[in-house]
Homo-oligomer: 388 residues x 2
């Protein structure tokens, strides 16, 4: 016995706890068993809540001996599952692992109850079908988490106690690691769900506020999509400026860029004739009204830059702060182009939409004056490719 099973087990345990993918964990275990102990094949059936049974999760071994994946699912009321669920292996053999050879000889003796004998005979028949000589259950607390099935050893010999102890210990470690991984996965799903809830609620409320401004139906959604499209393209060219957080901030900022319009009277927003200077100034308040609405939310700091500065101009003639050139945050420069493109492309109370080609030309024309050239370059590139 050249293998130091104790050491193998320690190493395996160390690696397993930080693998948060149950399938990968089981694959690691099965691969290790097959290679270390030189077994013809091994497979693992993992409890599958949704399908109310045990699904073949991984199968490994020499050609022809391998159980085909997808093919096999064991029902939760199957004889093999019931056998281990009721801990019959422990009560009949004194260990969790079930050995085909040992069980065969026990079947011949008259020491065990007829009922158990029948059940055991069924289990052994199942093992024959699956060409397995050893079956090891995995429990988590009292629940049967899975079953490991092992084929013969390559050298034809029987498994020795040390090997069975190793398999059982490894299997039990994997059961824990799998539960741990499942918990991680559940927390991750929960986190994702919360994020979706936040984003979707923001979308719904932003859309409701937008609806006050009769002429901008769908504006928020279009600006958001276009901003993200531009940002992704810039990100492809120059990764260092961009990360998931930037895109998330941009997403929220685009959704909320006009939120401050809630503070502008409806009759100004929907006025059909030209606005007076006073009315125009009321509209120019909307970025700062937006900032005031969002200020209490510390996590939205990054997004707030987009809300505050999306009407700044590259030449410094914008509002509210008159920032110039590179002092305008990137997030705001992106929204500015997307916002203007959509505004020019759609009808407004005081004028009709411009044809798309004219809008694109106009944006190119205003590059370096109203807009940041870096953004317009990317925007025009996307237009050429027909992506806008």
């Amino acid at each position: 016995m050249a293998i130091d099973y104790k050491k193998e087990l320690q190493t395996a345990a160390k690696n397993m706890i930080f693998v948060h993918d149950p399938d990968l964990l089981i694959k690691m275990m099965v691969r290790m068993m097959v290679s270390k102990a030189k077994i013809a094949h091994a497979s693992f059936f993992l409890h599958d809540k949704k399908r109310e049974g045990y699904s073949l999760t991984v199968s490994k071994g020499s050609l022809g001996k391998k159980i085909p994946l997808d093919l096999i699912r064991i029902d939760k009321d199957d004889v093999l599952i019931r056998f281990f669920r009721s801990h019959l292996s422990r009560s009949v053999f004194g260990r969790e692992a079930l050995l085909y050879s040992e069980a065969k000889s026990v079947l011949k003796s008259s020491k065990i109850k007829q009922e158990v004998k029948q059940q055991l005979a069924h289990v052994l028949y199942q093992m024959e079908l699956l060409e397995s000589v050893v079956c090891i259950p995995s429990y988590f607390r009292d629940e049967l988490l899975g079953v490991l099935l092992l084929g013969r050893k390559d050298n034809g010999r029987n498994f020795i106690d040390e090997e069975l102890d190793f398999f059982t210990a490894l299997n039990s470690n994997v059961a824990m690691a799998v539960r741990n991984a499942q918990l991680f996965k559940e927390l991750g799903i929960e986190l994702d769900r919360k994020h979706q809830l936040f984003v979707r609620t923001t979308i719904a409320l932003a859309a409701a506020i937008e609806a006050k401004d009769h002429y901008t139906h769908g504006h928020t959604t279009r600006v958001t999509n276009l901003s993200l499209e531009i940002a992704r393209r810039i990100g492809q060219k120059n990764k260092k400026d961009f990360d998931a957080k930037f895109l998330e901030n941009l997403h929220i900022a685009s959704l909320l860029h006009d939120i401050g319009k809630i503070g502008v009277p409806e009759h100004i927003l929907n006025k059909r004739h030209e606005l007076t200077i006073g009315e125009r100034n009321r509209i120019k308040e909307h970025p700062m009204i937006g900032v005031n609405i969002l200020k209490p939310i510390k996590e939205l700091e990054g997004s707030m830059l987009g809300v505050r500065y999306h009407h700044e101009r590259f030449d410094g003639k914008g509002y509210p702060d008159g920032l110039k050139g590179d002092r305008i945050p990137l997030i705001a420069s992106i929204i500015s182009v997307a916002d203007s493109f959509d505004a020019m492309s759609t009808d407004r109370p005081y004028r009709l939409a411009m044809p798309k080609d004219d809008v694109v030309n106009e944006i190119g024309h205003l590059s370096g004056r109203q807009f940041c050239p870096r953004i317009t370059d990317t925007f025009l590139e996307l237009c050429k490719e027909g992506r806008i």
Copy 2:
């Protein structure tokens, strides 16, 4: 040696992975060592990112031998920490664990470098101060996660290899479990943060929408607080109806109950004179406008019941559906009382606020007609106690 260390280790590993509190994990390990191996005292210094050092996390042992908690923190540049961070123990002694007696005799030999000798002498002096004879480092990947310090054995004998192997293995398991626990904690904090972000954004947007209705400043916040107060009291009396999810739904529903007013023209909301029947009907649309705004968000289904039905009446004379009695969802019945209380207690465009006592009497008077008696009973109870 009566202790089956292998078995102890297996059992400990099984329990540890699902303890998601680092301090508790370390406490479990230290307690186990002290009791199983009969050691005078043991303590653990855990890496503390914030404090840039290693803080005494747990200390256990016979009276007088115990290191006082809070007192001791080892700096990240301390000689003991640097010794283990550079894996000197492994290179000098061939094992991670550092034994005082072994190190003392190595110091006398001339085989090791002067520089290492000096460092080791400092480390041993530290161990003397802490009355420790064994020091075991915990690594996670290549980072020093903590240091375990052990006192003498009660029987005065030296530690044997099997014990040291056990301590090292246990310590290494704990290091993994601690990292696992920290990851869980971080995910949990992240989840909480996302929830807060969702709630605070909802509050900000609801407040912005409320601001359109000049006369209802602070209405949403007050209705939310009162609804939650009533619900918590009902929950204390009858737990089965209530869980965290119900309170969460109620929280969001109260914040958004008037969200549909965004669809009602400003001049109707702020009209100073009595409303016409047509105008009244426009206002009565607000619950269904709210439902339409929130409908795309599946997770808000529970909250939507509160938005939709908060103007239903117990006698069936409310709107939009004319539901009667128990057919009105509890969440809506709670908001209904809180909403009416606040509306009557504050000035409106067309009338002044009523004195608080009159409002309370009126709500009692309307119990069983406008309001669900179960809610008004709780409401009046809270009033009597001066909590409203």
